[in-house]
């Protein structure tokens, strides 16, 4: 599903990523680890198509609308409610039976009771849960997660564990907590 050869990215003079080779088949789980600033987020942005490589080749064999992306930012409008945010994304992703699907993901991540609250009123952890709802709303076949456990309490982290354990999608996940996901990983990439 994802194939990279000599993949690199530079911003101006700064080389953020260099010489990455990887082959991730359909259904695989790529675990990306490394310290801050090592290029994990850049690799994820290249994979989802938010940035273009400056060297090497990258093939991602999945349509744009089949990618679910969890970023550092929740990618949500703070002045809109949870329902309104998910409804917008549901429309843009042409999710069938949108309302039922939105209800289902909100229930799954424990946000149904807070569905009509504006995101501005959410805690950081609730916003992260809602961001996961957004990333999973359209049942992606490639799930790209940047620090999925960030700001989550134990209950929230357990929800992510459950979601990943029951996954059907190919997963690329960058984390500072590799032990938690090591048993799921089929491929590991460690940045120095």
């Amino acid at each position: 599903m994802i194939r990279a050869r000599g993949l690199g990215r530079r911003y101006g003079r700064k080389e953020v990523l260099r010489g990455i080779d990887l082959d991730l088949p359909v259904g695989g789980f790529l675990l990306v680890t490394g310290p801050n600033g090592s290029g994990k987020t850049t690799l994820l942005r290249l994979i989802v198509g938010l940035a273009l490589p400056t060297s090497g080749e990258l093939e991602v064999d999945v349509e744009r609308g089949r990618i679910g992306f969890l970023s550092h930012e929740p990618l949500l409008y703070r002045q809109l409610t949870a329902i309104e945010n998910l409804d917008l994304y549901g429309r843009l992703y042409h999710v069938p039976e949108r309302r039922e699907r939105i209800g289902m993901v909100l229930e799954r991540f424990g946000l149904w009771e807070a569905r009509n609250e504006r995101v501005a009123a959410y805690s950081r952890g609730m916003a992260q849960r809602l961001a996961l709802c957004r990333a999973l709303l359209h049942e992606p076949s490639l799930l790209v997660l940047d620090e999925p456990y960030a700001a989550l309490d134990d209950a929230g982290a357990a929800l992510v564990d459950r979601e990943l354990a029951e996954r059907r999608a190919t997963v690329v996940c960058a984390t500072h907590d590799p032990e938690r996901l090591d048993r799921l990983a089929t491929l590991r990439l460690a940045f120095a």
């Binding site: 938010l50 992306f69 970023s71 929740p74 703070r78 809109l80 917008l88 429309r91």
Partner: protein
């Protein structure tokens, strides 16, 4: 139909955001009224209609600039642009949805500004209203494109006026011509041509503005 549905969803979201935050419309309305009051006292008594109409267009362009400066603030501050860009809809739908919302705000403000201009200066002819309507389309098409470009820059406040104002010069020429010149129909045609040309350019090239 799917494209139009995407555009509708994006424009509706912007109107909803403005309804909640009430930041852009009141600021634009206050600015245009203040500008007309200042111009009213700055313009010597007995000045020509040409000068007054020129000031109307200055007020409209700068009011639009104020609205355009706010256009991509929610996407920029909350990092939402990445989410929109990743959606499977045509990326030009983001530009069109935002442009329609900005056009709506500008038209609403002009509902206040044109009667205010009639009170402070002189009456507003049908040709002026037609000129304003055509100019709004061009201003919003180009302005939304430039605002998205500026939003990707660290110096948005600087980039937006520097790029937008030179591109708005033909709109001012066409607008003033349509308002005061004999045979103003030619200027309306010029504004329509400007709208069509720039709308097509912005629609076709927006994708390159929102990807790294």
């Amino acid at each position: 139909m799917s494209y139009l549905a995407d555009v509708g969803a994006l424009a509706r979201k912007d109107l909803l955001l403005e309804l909640r935050a009430r930041e852009t419309l009141p600021a634009m309305a206050l600015f245009v009224i203040s500008a007309l009051v200042v111009f009213h006292f700055a313009l010597p008594t007995g000045s020509s209609d040409l000068a007054a109409k020129g000031l109307l267009w200055v007020a409209i362009v700068f009011t639009a600039l104020l609205g355009l400066g706010r256009a991509f603030v929610p996407e920029r501050e909350q990092g939402v642009m990445d989410g929109l860009v990743l959606a499977p809809c045509d990326r030009s739908a983001i530009w069109l949805g935002k442009g329609i919302a900005v056009l709506g705000f500008l038209a609403l403000v002009e509902v206040i500004a044109l009667p205010a201009f009639a009170v402070f200066f002189s009456g507003v002819s049908g040709r002026t209203v037609a000129g304003v309507a055509l100019a709004d389309v061009g201003i919003c098409a180009v302005g939304t494109f430039v605002a998205a470009t500026a939003a990707a820059s660290r110096t948005q406040e600087l980039v937006l006026p520097l790029l937008f104002l030179p591109l708005a010069i033909p709109v001012v020429i066409g607008g003033v011509g349509a308002s005061v010149a004999a045979g103003g129909g030619r200027y309306l045609g010029f504004l329509a041509l400007y709208d069509a040309v720039f709308a097509i350019i912005c629609w076709a090239s927006f994708e390159y503005v929102v990807t790294e």
